[in-house]
């Protein structure tokens, strides 16, 4: 009994002290509105939601332990648990805990011109700003050759900074000839993905397949080709490529000259009089290359033509008759330079 009275007195005392402090404090809130919802219904519901969330969470554990990799049930159970938790928290926030509107002053910031504003009142208070500035300046008292030291400091910064950044170069090789490397030259055989040589008879007119340089890494950008076959009378190759397409078989780099996706669409009309002509199309941004004239671009954002490989036929198999007509892949500074 005594303890209870003491507790009550302690509580009253605390409240009184708090009230006094609040009353006399200038830094605290100036105005407040406070409502106690005092809704036992809301409290009950909050508790119910929390218990339900607990059950849903346990359901997740059970499903994890006993059901084999059922993503949907796992996701649903934990989602329900979290949704119930969210509902409980929001309900409590709105209907269980005290609802307050407070007003508090913002911390004053000093302006460039030294004035401070607070609540529309301007009062000159250069103090913290000037103190900071003065403190910084005072650090240089007695130092005579500031220019020399400053310049030396900058030089040290540049030198050490360069030393810090330079190891980044080890992350990658120099450009050198890397972007121009190609395994294709006269005599290199064409092979399919399984390593077997590409036979002329494999390709029907209107067909296409992916081929590679024999012995090269298939992932190497210049190694992959799109090989297509058209009717020889359809060809419109320029004079210097007249013999590049034996029996109407054409080979082009498979890598688009716009943004390096694989040119994996081949369009060949069944009825040429009423359909667009044969072309290779890239699925990324739809750059389209005419195969009949040696890979010139006819649609889309690509600028350089698709590099063509001259072919010849040896023992019924396809062999390169020289290097590709141009650099493979996307353009960069030196892509158009000869050699």
């Amino acid at each position: 009994m005594r303890r209870r009275i003491a507790a009550a007195f302690a509580w009253l005392w605390r409240y009184a002290v708090a009230g006094l402090i609040l009353r006399h404090s200038k830094k605290r809130t100036v105005r407040r509105e406070r409502e106690l919802p005092a809704s036992t219904r809301a409290e009950t519901w909050t508790a119910v939601l929390l218990f339900a969330a607990a059950l849903a969470g346990l359901a997740f554990v059970a499903i994890y332990a006993f059901d084999d990799a059922n993503t949907q049930l796992l996701g649903l159970s934990i989602a329900v648990a979290l949704a119930l938790l969210a509902a409980a928290l929001i309900l409590a926030a709105a209907h269980v805990v005290p609802q307050e509107t407070l007003e508090e002053p913002r911390p004053p910031f000093t302006h460039v011109d030294g004035t401070k504003t607070q609540g529309g009142l301007e009062f000159s208070s250069r103090q913290p700003y000037e103190e900071a500035a003065l403190g910084l300046r005072e650090g240089g008292d007695g130092v005579t050759r500031r220019g020399l030291l400053g310049a030396a400091g900058v030089a040290a910064g540049v030198g050490i900074g360069a030393a810090a950044l330079v190891p980044l170069a080890s992350l990658g090789p120099a450009v050198g000839n890397r972007l121009a490397a190609s395994p294709w030259k006269d005599g290199v055989r064409l092979v399919e993905e399984n390593g077997m040589p590409v036979q002329v008879d494999d390709l029907a007119v209107g067909s296409f397949l992916t081929a590679f340089a024999e012995g090269a890494d298939k992932e190497e950008l210049a190694a992959s080709l799109a090989v297509v076959r058209v009717r020889p009378e359809e060809l419109e190759l320029p004079a210097d490529r007249a013999d590049w397409a034996p029996e109407g078989i054409l080979a082009f780099s498979k890598i688009c000259t716009h943004a390096q996706c694989a040119v994996s669409l081949f369009r060949y009309p069944l009825f040429a009089e009423r359909s667009p002509g044969p072309a290779l199309v890239c699925p990324c941004h739809y750059s389209t290359f005419n195969v009949l004239d040696g890979g010139e671009r006819i649609f889309g954002p690509a600028v350089r033509p698709l590099p063509q490989l001259p072919l010849r036929i040896e023992d019924g198999a396809l062999v390169a008759a020289g290097p590709l007509s141009g650099p493979v892949g996307a353009s960069w500074g030196r892509v158009r330079e000869e050699g």
Partner: protein
């Protein structure tokens, strides 16, 4: 007064939010399930020619010839020799081509020069058989392939499809642009149709001989196409199987929209400040 307005305003805002959400979800649903391009021809032609008693062999060819004269010769010529600038010669087109175009409703075309698109077949199955027999008789060409997906390997089919078909039809067989053509979705393609298209190369599709894609490989490709028609959706609702476009729509119209509603729910709370009353600061 303000309390009443507050309650009515709350209800109004809630209704507005619900309506907007319903509208957005509806638009999303429409976008997700709208139909791709199809041929819009008239209903299947009730031909006067009686096909029931056609029988086999020569009788079929004869029936086919009659059907051909009424339905096809105006573009393809009376002997199927083609008309320059209008329609190709069908000599050597083979049964596979005729069967493919007729069964998928791509032929007859409504307009010369249109791209043939899948639609309702214009002829009954028996009529198609007759026409196919006739076209096949015009000259040697690819026969209807015998494609059995169960004899193929889905894994091999996926590799082959990726290398030869996905560039146009998409890795999930949902179709796409093929500058100058339309690579259709493969959702309704039967194994036979797959095989026919591969051998024939319709419209601007390339064609693959039995050496490039062997019959066994064709079985595998058909098995993979069947898989794309019912993919393994371990992750839940497949939302179209075309990747980030519907995913982004869901992220915005489902996830973010729902969270914006939650924010709206908790953002203004009871007894909070009013914004409409006199401002104290000059602008």
């Amino acid at each position: 007064m303000r309390r009443a307005r507050g309650v009515a305003g709350a209800r109004r805002a809630r209704r507005l939010a619900m309506a907007t959400l319903a509208l957005l979800l509806g638009a999303f649903a429409v976008a997700a399930w709208a139909q791709p391009p199809v041929s819009r021809g008239p209903a299947p032609a009730a031909s006067a020619v009686d096909v029931a008693a056609a029988g086999s062999g020569g009788a079929k060819v004869a029936t086919g010839r009659e059907l051909f004269e009424t339905g096809c010769s105006s573009c393809h010529g009376f002997e199927g020799e083609g008309v320059k600038g209008q329609a190709p010669s069908l000599v050597g087109a083979g049964e596979a081509a005729a069967d493919f175009y007729l069964r998928t409703g791509r032929m007859p075309l409504d307009q010369v020069g249109e791209e043939p698109l899948r639609g309702e077949p214009r002829y009954s199955s028996a009529q198609i058989e007759a026409l196919v027999a006739y076209v096949g008789s015009l000259g040697p060409g690819p026969t209807i392939p015998d494609v059995d997906p169960s004899k193929g390997s889905v894994s091999e089919g996926m590799e082959l499809f990726t290398g030869s078909c996905a560039g146009c039809h998409g890795i999930g067989g949902k179709g796409g642009v093929a500058i100058g053509g339309y690579a259709p979705p493969l959702g309704e393609a039967t194994p036979t149709e797959v095989g026919e298209a591969v051998r024939v190369g319709p419209y601007v599709m390339p064609r693959f001989s039995e050496r490039t894609i062997t019959p066994e490989q064709l079985n595998s490709i058909a098995a993979y196409v069947a898989l794309t028609q019912e993919p393994e959706d371990a992750g839940g609702f497949g939302i179209g199987h075309i990747g980030p476009v519907p995913e982004g729509l869901v992220a915005w119209l489902a996830a973010l929209a729902a969270l914006l509603l939650v924010a709206r729910l908790i953002g203004e709370r009871l007894g909070g400040g009013d914004a409409e009353d006199d401002a104290e600061e000059p602008r």
